[in-house]
Protein backbone atom coordinates (compact mmCIF):
# COMPACT_ATOMS: atom_id res chain seq x y z
CA UNK A 1 0.00 0.00 0.00
CA UNK A 2 1.34 3.41 -0.97
CA UNK A 3 -0.18 6.67 0.23
CA UNK A 4 0.81 9.99 -1.35
CA UNK A 5 -0.46 12.89 0.70
CA UNK A 6 -0.45 16.54 -0.49
CA UNK A 7 2.75 15.96 -2.44
CA UNK A 8 4.35 19.12 -3.82
CA UNK A 9 7.83 19.04 -5.32
CA UNK A 10 10.12 21.60 -6.93
CA UNK A 11 13.64 20.72 -8.10
CA UNK A 12 15.04 24.04 -6.85
CA UNK A 13 13.66 26.21 -4.09
CA UNK A 14 11.66 29.08 -5.62
CA UNK A 15 11.12 27.26 -8.94
CA UNK A 16 7.58 26.54 -9.99
CA UNK A 17 6.69 23.09 -8.66
CA UNK A 18 6.86 20.05 -10.94
CA UNK A 19 4.24 18.31 -8.82
CA UNK A 20 1.47 20.21 -7.08
CA UNK A 21 -0.64 19.05 -4.17
CA UNK A 22 -0.93 15.51 -5.40
CA UNK A 23 -2.94 12.89 -3.52
CA UNK A 24 -2.94 9.23 -4.37
CA UNK A 25 -3.72 5.93 -2.72
CA UNK A 26 -2.47 2.69 -4.16
CA UNK A 27 -3.78 -0.55 -2.70
CA UNK A 28 -1.94 -3.88 -2.63
CA UNK A 29 -1.76 -5.83 -5.90
CA UNK A 30 -3.20 -3.15 -8.17
CA UNK A 31 -2.20 -2.97 -11.85
CA UNK A 32 -1.99 0.74 -12.59
CA UNK A 33 -1.09 2.54 -15.80
CA UNK A 34 0.26 6.08 -15.44
CA UNK A 35 -0.12 8.22 -18.55
CA UNK A 36 0.53 11.83 -19.47
CA UNK A 37 2.44 13.83 -22.05
CA UNK A 38 6.21 14.41 -21.77
CA UNK A 39 7.19 16.70 -18.93
CA UNK A 40 3.93 16.28 -17.03
CA UNK A 41 5.72 14.95 -13.94
CA UNK A 42 5.18 11.19 -14.27
CA UNK A 43 8.82 10.34 -13.73
CA UNK A 44 9.12 12.82 -10.87
CA UNK A 45 6.09 11.24 -9.22
CA UNK A 46 7.36 7.68 -9.42
CA UNK A 47 10.76 8.72 -8.09
CA UNK A 48 8.96 9.75 -4.92
CA UNK A 49 7.47 6.30 -4.44
CA UNK A 50 10.78 4.68 -3.45
CA UNK A 51 12.44 7.68 -1.88
CA UNK A 52 14.76 8.62 -4.76
CA UNK A 53 13.16 12.05 -4.33
CA UNK A 54 11.80 13.45 -1.10
CA UNK A 55 8.71 15.72 -1.24
CA UNK A 56 9.21 19.48 -0.75
CA UNK A 57 5.81 19.50 0.98
CA UNK A 58 3.66 16.53 1.93
CA UNK A 59 4.32 12.88 2.64
CA UNK A 60 4.84 9.62 0.79
CA UNK A 61 4.18 6.51 2.81
CA UNK A 62 4.88 2.92 1.86
CA UNK A 63 2.87 0.77 4.27
CA UNK A 64 3.88 2.17 7.66
CA UNK A 65 7.18 3.63 6.42
CA UNK A 66 7.73 7.27 5.49
CA UNK A 67 10.22 8.12 2.73
CA UNK A 68 11.51 11.02 4.86
CA UNK A 69 12.93 8.53 7.33
CA UNK A 70 16.35 7.64 5.92
CA UNK A 71 16.53 4.54 8.13
CA UNK A 72 13.59 2.93 6.33
CA UNK A 73 14.82 3.73 2.80
CA UNK A 74 16.37 0.31 2.23
CA UNK A 75 13.19 -1.45 3.26
CA UNK A 76 11.09 0.95 1.14
CA UNK A 77 13.29 0.22 -1.86
CA UNK A 78 12.94 -3.49 -1.23
CA UNK A 79 9.14 -3.24 -1.17
CA UNK A 80 8.88 -0.83 -4.11
CA UNK A 81 11.03 -2.12 -6.98
CA UNK A 82 11.77 0.38 -9.72
CA UNK A 83 13.12 -0.01 -13.24
CA UNK A 84 13.89 2.72 -15.73
CA UNK A 85 13.54 3.09 -19.44
CA UNK A 86 17.07 2.30 -20.56
CA UNK A 87 17.76 -1.21 -19.28
CA UNK A 88 21.37 -1.03 -20.44
CA UNK A 89 22.27 1.54 -17.79
CA UNK A 90 20.69 -0.44 -14.98
CA UNK A 91 22.68 -3.60 -15.35
CA UNK A 92 25.44 -3.68 -12.77
CA UNK A 93 26.71 -7.25 -12.87
CA UNK A 94 29.28 -8.77 -15.19
CA UNK A 95 26.95 -11.67 -15.91
CA UNK A 96 23.19 -12.19 -15.88
CA UNK A 97 23.15 -14.05 -12.56
CA UNK A 98 25.49 -11.60 -10.87
CA UNK A 99 23.27 -8.73 -11.90
CA UNK A 100 20.20 -10.41 -10.43
CA UNK A 101 22.22 -11.03 -7.25
CA UNK A 102 22.99 -7.31 -6.87
CA UNK A 103 19.71 -6.42 -5.12
CA UNK A 104 19.67 -9.34 -2.67
CA UNK A 105 23.38 -8.65 -2.03
CA UNK A 106 22.48 -5.10 -1.02
CA UNK A 107 19.96 -6.57 1.42
CA UNK A 108 22.90 -8.49 2.91
CA UNK A 109 21.24 -11.87 2.59
CA UNK A 110 23.32 -15.01 2.97
CA UNK A 111 24.76 -16.38 -0.26
CA UNK A 112 22.50 -19.44 0.03
CA UNK A 113 19.46 -17.15 0.09
CA UNK A 114 20.88 -14.94 -2.68
CA UNK A 115 21.35 -18.07 -4.78
CA UNK A 116 17.76 -19.23 -4.17
CA UNK A 117 16.34 -15.84 -5.12
CA UNK A 118 18.45 -15.54 -8.26
CA UNK A 119 17.27 -18.99 -9.32
CA UNK A 120 13.64 -18.08 -8.70
CA UNK A 121 13.76 -14.65 -10.37
CA UNK A 122 15.50 -16.00 -13.48
CA UNK A 123 12.91 -18.75 -13.67
CA UNK A 124 10.06 -16.22 -13.42
CA UNK A 125 11.31 -14.23 -16.42
CA UNK A 126 12.40 -17.35 -18.31
CA UNK A 127 16.12 -16.54 -18.46
CA UNK A 128 17.60 -19.50 -16.57
CA UNK A 129 19.39 -20.65 -19.73
CA UNK A 130 21.23 -17.31 -20.07
CA UNK A 131 22.54 -17.06 -16.50
CA UNK A 132 26.24 -16.89 -17.29
CA UNK A 133 25.96 -14.59 -20.32
CA UNK A 134 27.68 -11.18 -20.12
CA UNK A 135 25.00 -8.46 -20.26
CA UNK A 136 26.26 -6.70 -23.39
CA UNK A 137 25.54 -9.83 -25.45
CA UNK A 138 21.80 -9.73 -24.63
CA UNK A 139 19.09 -8.31 -26.88
CA UNK A 140 17.06 -5.25 -25.85
CA UNK A 141 14.12 -7.38 -24.75
CA UNK A 142 16.36 -9.69 -22.74
CA UNK A 143 18.00 -6.72 -21.01
CA UNK A 144 14.58 -5.43 -19.98
CA UNK A 145 13.63 -8.88 -18.65
CA UNK A 146 16.94 -8.97 -16.79
CA UNK A 147 16.14 -5.60 -15.20
CA UNK A 148 12.80 -7.08 -14.13
CA UNK A 149 14.46 -10.19 -12.71
CA UNK A 150 16.77 -7.92 -10.73
CA UNK A 151 13.70 -6.34 -9.12
CA UNK A 152 11.90 -9.64 -8.53
CA UNK A 153 14.89 -11.03 -6.64
CA UNK A 154 14.25 -8.37 -3.99
CA UNK A 155 10.77 -9.90 -3.51
CA UNK A 156 8.97 -6.55 -3.77
CA UNK A 157 5.29 -5.88 -3.13
CA UNK A 158 4.98 -3.53 -6.04
CA UNK A 159 7.13 -2.77 -9.07
CA UNK A 160 7.23 0.60 -10.83
CA UNK A 161 8.32 0.54 -14.45
CA UNK A 162 9.14 3.66 -16.44
CA UNK A 163 8.33 2.93 -20.08
CA UNK A 164 9.69 -0.61 -19.98
CA UNK A 165 8.72 -1.34 -23.58
CA UNK A 166 9.82 1.95 -25.19
CA UNK A 167 12.82 0.59 -27.06
CA UNK A 168 11.62 -2.95 -27.70
CA UNK A 169 10.51 -4.67 -30.89
CA UNK A 170 6.92 -6.07 -30.98
CA UNK A 171 8.06 -9.52 -29.89
CA UNK A 172 9.98 -8.11 -26.90
CA UNK A 173 7.03 -5.88 -25.98
CA UNK A 174 4.68 -8.83 -25.99
CA UNK A 175 6.98 -10.86 -23.74
CA UNK A 176 7.31 -8.05 -21.20
CA UNK A 177 3.57 -7.28 -21.17
CA UNK A 178 2.59 -10.94 -20.83
CA UNK A 179 5.01 -11.28 -17.94
CA UNK A 180 3.58 -8.21 -16.20
CA UNK A 181 0.06 -9.63 -16.46
CA UNK A 182 1.24 -12.96 -15.07
CA UNK A 183 3.09 -11.34 -12.16
CA UNK A 184 0.05 -9.22 -11.35
CA UNK A 185 -2.10 -12.36 -11.24
CA UNK A 186 0.34 -13.73 -8.64
CA UNK A 187 -0.43 -10.72 -6.45
CA UNK A 188 2.39 -8.32 -7.36
CA UNK A 189 1.34 -4.67 -7.65
CA UNK A 190 2.41 -2.92 -10.85
CA UNK A 191 2.69 0.73 -11.82
CA UNK A 192 3.37 0.99 -15.51
CA UNK A 193 4.34 4.41 -16.91
CA UNK A 194 3.62 4.41 -20.62
CA UNK A 195 2.93 6.49 -23.70
CA UNK A 196 1.05 3.67 -25.34
CA UNK A 197 -2.68 3.73 -24.63
CA UNK A 198 -2.90 0.16 -25.91
CA UNK A 199 -0.61 -0.81 -23.03
CA UNK A 200 -2.50 1.38 -20.57
CA UNK A 201 -5.66 -0.52 -21.54
CA UNK A 202 -4.13 -3.68 -20.02
CA UNK A 203 -4.16 -2.15 -16.54
CA UNK A 204 -7.11 -2.21 -14.18
CA UNK A 205 -6.73 1.42 -13.19
CA UNK A 206 -5.47 4.37 -15.23
CA UNK A 207 -4.03 7.56 -13.76
CA UNK A 208 -3.72 10.61 -16.02
CA UNK A 209 -1.30 13.41 -15.21
CA UNK A 210 -1.06 16.87 -16.70
CA UNK A 211 1.18 19.75 -15.61
CA UNK A 212 2.11 18.22 -12.29
CA UNK A 213 -1.40 17.30 -11.31
CA UNK A 214 -3.36 14.09 -11.26
CA UNK A 215 -6.34 14.97 -13.46
CA UNK A 216 -8.09 11.64 -13.84
CA UNK A 217 -8.20 8.32 -12.04
CA UNK A 218 -10.45 5.47 -13.12
CA UNK A 219 -10.71 2.22 -15.03
CA UNK A 220 -9.46 2.10 -18.65
CA UNK A 221 -13.02 1.90 -19.96
CA UNK A 222 -13.91 5.26 -18.49
CA UNK A 223 -10.72 7.08 -19.33
CA UNK A 224 -9.39 5.77 -22.62
CA UNK A 225 -12.78 6.09 -24.33
CA UNK A 226 -12.66 9.89 -23.94
CA UNK A 227 -10.91 10.22 -27.27
CA UNK A 228 -11.23 13.99 -27.79
CA UNK A 229 -10.20 14.78 -24.23
CA UNK A 230 -7.09 12.60 -24.49
CA UNK A 231 -6.13 14.40 -27.68
CA UNK A 232 -6.34 17.80 -25.98
CA UNK A 233 -3.83 16.47 -23.43
CA UNK A 234 -1.42 15.58 -26.21
CA UNK A 235 -2.01 11.85 -25.83
CA UNK A 236 -2.79 9.45 -28.64
CA UNK A 237 -5.84 7.35 -27.82
CA UNK A 238 -5.74 3.67 -28.87
CA UNK A 239 -6.22 3.37 -32.64
CA UNK A 240 -9.13 1.03 -32.17
CA UNK A 241 -10.93 3.42 -29.78
CA UNK A 242 -10.37 6.23 -32.25
CA UNK A 243 -11.83 4.14 -35.05
CA UNK A 244 -14.89 3.40 -32.95
CA UNK A 245 -15.13 7.05 -31.99
CA UNK A 246 -15.00 8.18 -35.63
CA UNK A 247 -17.69 5.67 -36.54
CA UNK A 248 -19.82 6.85 -33.64
CA UNK A 249 -19.34 10.44 -34.71
CA UNK A 250 -20.61 9.37 -38.12
CA UNK A 251 -23.85 8.35 -36.45
CA UNK A 252 -23.26 4.65 -35.77
CA UNK A 253 -24.42 3.18 -32.51
CA UNK A 254 -21.09 1.92 -31.07
CA UNK A 255 -19.31 1.85 -27.75
CA UNK A 256 -15.98 3.73 -27.64
CA UNK A 257 -14.55 1.95 -24.61
CA UNK A 258 -12.98 -0.71 -26.79
CA UNK A 259 -9.22 -1.29 -26.86
CA UNK A 260 -8.58 -4.59 -28.58
CA UNK A 261 -9.18 -5.76 -32.11
CA UNK A 262 -11.17 -8.74 -30.79
CA UNK A 263 -13.62 -6.50 -28.92
CA UNK A 264 -13.89 -4.18 -31.90
CA UNK A 265 -14.69 -7.09 -34.24
CA UNK A 266 -17.38 -8.25 -31.82
CA UNK A 267 -18.89 -4.77 -31.52
CA UNK A 268 -18.86 -4.14 -35.27
CA UNK A 269 -20.27 -7.60 -36.04
CA UNK A 270 -23.07 -6.92 -33.57
CA UNK A 271 -23.71 -3.57 -35.26
CA UNK A 272 -23.76 -5.18 -38.70
CA UNK A 273 -26.15 -7.87 -37.44
CA UNK A 274 -28.46 -5.18 -36.07
CA UNK A 275 -28.31 -3.28 -39.36
CA UNK A 276 -28.97 -6.45 -41.33
CA UNK A 277 -31.98 -7.41 -39.28
CA UNK A 278 -33.43 -3.91 -39.48
CA UNK A 279 -32.86 -3.75 -43.25
CA UNK A 280 -34.41 -7.24 -43.60
CA UNK A 281 -37.51 -5.85 -41.97
CA UNK A 282 -37.34 -3.02 -44.49
CA UNK A 283 -36.44 -4.95 -47.66
CA UNK A 284 -39.52 -7.18 -47.91
CA UNK A 285 -41.66 -4.05 -47.94
CA UNK A 286 -39.64 -2.77 -50.89
CA UNK A 287 -40.15 -6.09 -52.61
CA UNK A 288 -43.83 -5.78 -52.03
CA UNK A 289 -43.89 -2.39 -53.71
CA UNK A 290 -42.25 -3.86 -56.78
CA UNK A 291 -44.83 -6.58 -57.01
Amino acid sequence: MIRVHNLTYAYEKGDSPVLEDLNLHIAEGEYIALIGSNGCGKTTLIRHLNGLLIPSVGEVQVDELNTRDSKSLLEIRRRVGMAFQNADNQIVGMSVEEDVAFGPGNLRLSSVEVCRRVERALDMVGMTGLRTRPPHTLSGGQKQLLALAGLLAMEPKIIVLDEPTASLDPEGKKRVLTLLKKLNCQGLGIIHVTHSMEEAALAERVLVMDQGKLIADGNPGEILSRVEWLKTLGLAPPHISELMWQLKKGGEDLSTSIFTIEDAVEEITALLARLRSSSKAYLPQKADEHV
Binding site: R47, D88, G93, A101, N106, C115, L151, M154
Partner: protein
Protein backbone atom coordinates in the same frame (compact mmCIF):
# COMPACT_ATOMS: atom_id res chain seq x y z
CA UNK B 1 43.05 -5.76 -28.56
CA UNK B 2 40.20 -6.13 -26.12
CA UNK B 3 39.98 -9.87 -26.78
CA UNK B 4 43.61 -10.45 -25.78
CA UNK B 5 44.14 -12.18 -22.47
CA UNK B 6 40.43 -12.82 -21.96
CA UNK B 7 39.12 -15.69 -19.87
CA UNK B 8 39.34 -19.06 -21.63
CA UNK B 9 36.91 -21.59 -20.26
CA UNK B 10 38.69 -24.86 -19.42
CA UNK B 11 38.44 -27.61 -16.84
CA UNK B 12 41.88 -27.51 -15.24
CA UNK B 13 43.50 -27.51 -11.81
CA UNK B 14 44.65 -23.92 -12.42
CA UNK B 15 41.14 -22.74 -13.31
CA UNK B 16 39.75 -24.42 -10.19
CA UNK B 17 42.13 -22.61 -7.82
CA UNK B 18 40.70 -19.94 -5.56
CA UNK B 19 41.20 -16.53 -7.25
CA UNK B 20 42.91 -15.24 -4.10
CA UNK B 21 45.62 -17.88 -4.49
CA UNK B 22 46.13 -16.87 -8.11
CA UNK B 23 46.37 -13.20 -7.18
CA UNK B 24 48.89 -13.87 -4.41
CA UNK B 25 50.84 -16.12 -6.76
CA UNK B 26 51.05 -13.45 -9.46
CA UNK B 27 52.17 -10.79 -6.99
CA UNK B 28 54.76 -13.10 -5.41
CA UNK B 29 56.02 -14.28 -8.80
CA UNK B 30 56.37 -10.68 -9.96
CA UNK B 31 58.59 -9.88 -6.98
CA UNK B 32 60.59 -13.07 -7.57
CA UNK B 33 61.03 -12.32 -11.29
CA UNK B 34 62.36 -8.84 -10.54
CA UNK B 35 64.90 -10.29 -8.07
CA UNK B 36 66.49 -13.12 -10.05
CA UNK B 37 69.32 -13.34 -12.59
CA UNK B 38 69.56 -15.35 -15.82
CA UNK B 39 69.42 -18.77 -14.18
CA UNK B 40 66.46 -17.81 -12.03
CA UNK B 41 64.76 -16.31 -15.03
CA UNK B 42 65.07 -19.53 -17.00
CA UNK B 43 63.57 -21.39 -14.03
CA UNK B 44 60.72 -18.84 -13.75
CA UNK B 45 60.04 -19.09 -17.50
CA UNK B 46 59.94 -22.88 -17.25
CA UNK B 47 57.47 -22.50 -14.41
CA UNK B 48 55.26 -20.19 -16.49
CA UNK B 49 55.37 -22.75 -19.29
CA UNK B 50 54.42 -25.52 -16.85
CA UNK B 51 51.48 -23.51 -15.48
CA UNK B 52 50.30 -22.77 -19.02
CA UNK B 53 50.36 -26.47 -19.84
CA UNK B 54 48.64 -27.35 -16.57
CA UNK B 55 45.91 -24.78 -17.32
CA UNK B 56 45.40 -26.38 -20.76
CA UNK B 57 46.02 -23.02 -22.42
CA UNK B 58 47.69 -22.87 -25.78
CA UNK B 59 51.19 -21.42 -25.55
CA UNK B 60 50.45 -19.34 -28.64
CA UNK B 61 47.41 -17.64 -27.14
CA UNK B 62 49.46 -16.63 -24.10
CA UNK B 63 52.32 -15.27 -26.24
CA UNK B 64 49.86 -13.32 -28.36
CA UNK B 65 49.06 -11.13 -25.36
CA UNK B 66 52.64 -9.80 -25.62
CA UNK B 67 52.03 -8.28 -29.03
CA UNK B 68 50.64 -4.88 -27.95
CA UNK B 69 53.57 -4.29 -25.56
CA UNK B 70 56.34 -5.41 -27.93
CA UNK B 71 57.07 -1.98 -29.53
CA UNK B 72 57.38 -0.45 -26.08
CA UNK B 73 59.72 -3.17 -24.84
CA UNK B 74 61.78 -2.94 -28.03
CA UNK B 75 62.40 0.76 -27.34
CA UNK B 76 63.31 -0.13 -23.77
CA UNK B 77 65.77 -2.72 -25.09
CA UNK B 78 67.43 -0.13 -27.35
CA UNK B 79 67.75 2.28 -24.41
CA UNK B 80 69.47 -0.41 -22.33
CA UNK B 81 71.97 -1.48 -24.96
CA UNK B 82 72.95 2.03 -26.03
CA UNK B 83 73.09 3.72 -22.69
CA UNK B 84 74.70 1.10 -20.48
CA UNK B 85 78.43 1.83 -20.11
CA UNK B 86 80.90 -1.08 -20.37
CA UNK B 87 83.24 -2.96 -22.69
CA UNK B 88 82.28 -2.18 -26.32
CA UNK B 89 81.47 -5.01 -28.72
CA UNK B 90 84.00 -4.57 -31.58
CA UNK B 91 81.72 -6.07 -34.26
CA UNK B 92 79.03 -3.45 -33.64
CA UNK B 93 80.39 -0.02 -34.40
CA UNK B 94 77.32 1.46 -36.13
CA UNK B 95 78.66 4.89 -36.92
CA UNK B 96 79.65 6.69 -33.74
CA UNK B 97 77.29 4.54 -31.63
CA UNK B 98 78.83 1.80 -29.56
CA UNK B 99 77.03 -0.96 -27.72
CA UNK B 100 78.52 -2.82 -24.81
CA UNK B 101 78.49 -6.42 -23.65
CA UNK B 102 77.03 -5.23 -20.37
CA UNK B 103 74.31 -3.31 -22.22
CA UNK B 104 73.32 -6.30 -24.33
CA UNK B 105 73.34 -8.54 -21.30
CA UNK B 106 71.30 -6.12 -19.18
CA UNK B 107 68.88 -5.30 -21.99
CA UNK B 108 68.01 -8.93 -22.66
CA UNK B 109 67.61 -9.62 -18.94
CA UNK B 110 65.34 -6.63 -18.28
CA UNK B 111 63.13 -7.07 -21.34
CA UNK B 112 62.81 -10.80 -20.61
CA UNK B 113 61.71 -9.95 -17.07
CA UNK B 114 59.07 -7.52 -18.24
CA UNK B 115 57.75 -9.92 -20.86
CA UNK B 116 57.49 -12.63 -18.21
CA UNK B 117 55.52 -10.27 -15.95
CA UNK B 118 53.03 -9.69 -18.75
CA UNK B 119 52.79 -13.44 -19.34
CA UNK B 120 52.08 -14.02 -15.64
CA UNK B 121 49.29 -11.42 -15.65
CA UNK B 122 47.86 -12.92 -18.84
CA UNK B 123 47.75 -16.40 -17.36
CA UNK B 124 45.83 -14.92 -14.43
CA UNK B 125 43.20 -13.20 -16.59
CA UNK B 126 42.92 -16.24 -18.85
CA UNK B 127 42.25 -18.66 -16.01
CA UNK B 128 40.06 -16.52 -13.73
CA UNK B 129 36.89 -14.68 -14.78
CA UNK B 130 36.71 -10.94 -14.20
CA UNK B 131 34.19 -11.47 -11.44
CA UNK B 132 36.43 -14.06 -9.74
CA UNK B 133 39.33 -11.60 -9.81
CA UNK B 134 37.12 -8.84 -8.43
CA UNK B 135 35.86 -11.12 -5.66
CA UNK B 136 39.40 -12.21 -4.87
CA UNK B 137 40.58 -8.61 -4.63
CA UNK B 138 37.64 -7.75 -2.40
CA UNK B 139 38.53 -10.53 0.03
CA UNK B 140 42.27 -9.80 -0.02
CA UNK B 141 41.68 -6.08 0.55
CA UNK B 142 39.31 -6.53 3.52
CA UNK B 143 42.00 -5.53 6.06
CA UNK B 144 42.11 -1.98 4.59
CA UNK B 145 38.89 -1.20 6.44
CA UNK B 146 41.10 -0.22 9.38
CA UNK B 147 42.02 2.91 7.39
CA UNK B 148 38.33 3.52 6.73
CA UNK B 149 38.05 2.20 3.16
CA UNK B 150 35.64 -0.59 2.42
CA UNK B 151 36.97 -3.29 0.10
CA UNK B 152 33.37 -3.78 -1.10
CA UNK B 153 33.39 -0.28 -2.55
CA UNK B 154 36.64 -0.92 -4.39
CA UNK B 155 35.30 -4.21 -5.75
CA UNK B 156 32.14 -2.42 -6.90
CA UNK B 157 34.23 0.25 -8.62
CA UNK B 158 36.31 -2.35 -10.38
CA UNK B 159 33.40 -4.49 -11.48
CA UNK B 160 31.45 -1.51 -12.82
CA UNK B 161 34.47 -0.40 -14.84
CA UNK B 162 34.80 -3.88 -16.32
CA UNK B 163 31.05 -4.19 -16.88
CA UNK B 164 30.85 -0.94 -18.86
CA UNK B 165 33.99 -1.47 -20.95
CA UNK B 166 32.20 -3.35 -23.78
CA UNK B 167 29.21 -0.98 -23.58
CA UNK B 168 31.46 2.03 -24.04
CA UNK B 169 33.35 0.34 -26.89
CA UNK B 170 30.01 -0.22 -28.65
CA UNK B 171 29.12 3.37 -28.01
CA UNK B 172 32.41 4.59 -29.42
CA UNK B 173 31.78 2.65 -32.63
CA UNK B 174 28.33 4.12 -32.73
CA UNK B 175 29.58 7.71 -32.36
CA UNK B 176 32.32 7.25 -34.95
CA UNK B 177 29.87 5.71 -37.44
CA UNK B 178 27.43 8.55 -36.87
CA UNK B 179 30.22 10.99 -37.72
CA UNK B 180 31.35 9.00 -40.76
CA UNK B 181 27.73 8.98 -41.94
CA UNK B 182 27.76 12.77 -41.78
CA UNK B 183 30.87 12.93 -43.91
CA UNK B 184 33.67 13.02 -41.35
CA UNK B 185 36.91 11.72 -42.80
CA UNK B 186 39.13 9.95 -40.33
CA UNK B 187 41.93 8.29 -42.17
CA UNK B 188 43.04 5.61 -39.73
CA UNK B 189 46.25 5.01 -41.70
CA UNK B 190 47.63 8.39 -40.80
CA UNK B 191 48.53 9.56 -37.35
CA UNK B 192 46.87 12.95 -37.97
CA UNK B 193 43.63 11.18 -38.91
CA UNK B 194 43.78 9.12 -35.74
CA UNK B 195 44.35 12.17 -33.60
CA UNK B 196 41.49 14.03 -35.27
CA UNK B 197 39.23 11.00 -34.71
CA UNK B 198 40.05 10.99 -31.00
CA UNK B 199 39.24 14.68 -30.73
CA UNK B 200 35.83 14.22 -32.34
CA UNK B 201 35.03 11.03 -30.41
CA UNK B 202 36.13 12.11 -26.95
CA UNK B 203 33.59 14.86 -26.33
CA UNK B 204 30.39 13.04 -27.35
CA UNK B 205 31.63 9.92 -25.60
CA UNK B 206 32.39 11.81 -22.38
CA UNK B 207 28.95 13.43 -22.41
CA UNK B 208 27.32 10.04 -22.89
CA UNK B 209 29.34 8.58 -20.04
CA UNK B 210 28.04 11.24 -17.67
CA UNK B 211 24.46 10.65 -18.79
CA UNK B 212 24.89 6.92 -18.25
CA UNK B 213 26.37 7.59 -14.80
CA UNK B 214 23.30 9.53 -13.71
CA UNK B 215 21.00 6.73 -14.78
CA UNK B 216 23.23 4.08 -13.24
CA UNK B 217 23.30 5.89 -9.90
CA UNK B 218 19.50 6.04 -9.81
CA UNK B 219 19.19 2.39 -10.78
CA UNK B 220 21.70 1.32 -8.13
CA UNK B 221 20.00 3.35 -5.43
CA UNK B 222 16.60 2.04 -6.48
CA UNK B 223 17.96 -1.46 -5.97
CA UNK B 224 19.05 -0.63 -2.45
CA UNK B 225 22.75 -0.02 -2.97
CA UNK B 226 24.56 1.44 0.00
CA UNK B 227 28.25 1.83 0.54
CA UNK B 228 29.97 -0.72 2.68
CA UNK B 229 29.19 -4.30 3.44
CA UNK B 230 27.20 -6.40 1.03
CA UNK B 231 26.88 -10.08 0.20
CA UNK B 232 27.46 -12.01 -3.00
CA UNK B 233 26.05 -14.86 -5.02
CA UNK B 234 29.05 -17.04 -4.23
CA UNK B 235 31.34 -16.88 -1.25
CA UNK B 236 34.94 -17.92 -1.80
CA UNK B 237 36.10 -20.84 0.32
CA UNK B 238 39.76 -21.81 0.58
CA UNK B 239 40.51 -25.52 0.39
CA UNK B 240 43.50 -27.24 2.00
CA UNK B 241 45.15 -27.38 -1.43
CA UNK B 242 44.82 -23.58 -1.69
CA UNK B 243 46.47 -23.08 1.71
CA UNK B 244 49.37 -25.42 0.84
CA UNK B 245 49.98 -23.62 -2.41
CA UNK B 246 50.01 -20.17 -0.79
CA UNK B 247 52.47 -21.46 1.82
CA UNK B 248 54.74 -22.88 -0.89
CA UNK B 249 54.68 -19.63 -2.86
CA UNK B 250 55.47 -17.54 0.21
CA UNK B 251 58.38 -19.79 1.18
CA UNK B 252 59.76 -19.54 -2.35
CA UNK B 253 59.38 -15.76 -2.20
CA UNK B 254 61.26 -15.50 1.10
CA UNK B 255 64.07 -17.79 -0.11
CA UNK B 256 64.55 -15.78 -3.33
CA UNK B 257 64.38 -12.35 -1.73
CA UNK B 258 66.78 -13.16 1.16
CA UNK B 259 69.32 -15.17 -0.87
Amino acid sequence: MYKLGQYVYQESPVHRLDPRVKLIAVIALSIIILHVNFVGLIAASAMALAITLLARLSWGSVLKTLRPVLPFFFCLFLLYIFFTPGRPIPAFPIGPVQISYEGLNFGILQVWKFLLLVVAASILTMTATQSEITMGMERLLRPIRIIGISSHDIAMLLSLALRFMPTLLDEMNCVSQAQLARGANFNPRHLSGKIRAIRYLAVPLAINVFRRCDELVDAMEARGYQQGHRTYLRELVLSRRDYCLVAAILILLIVVVYE
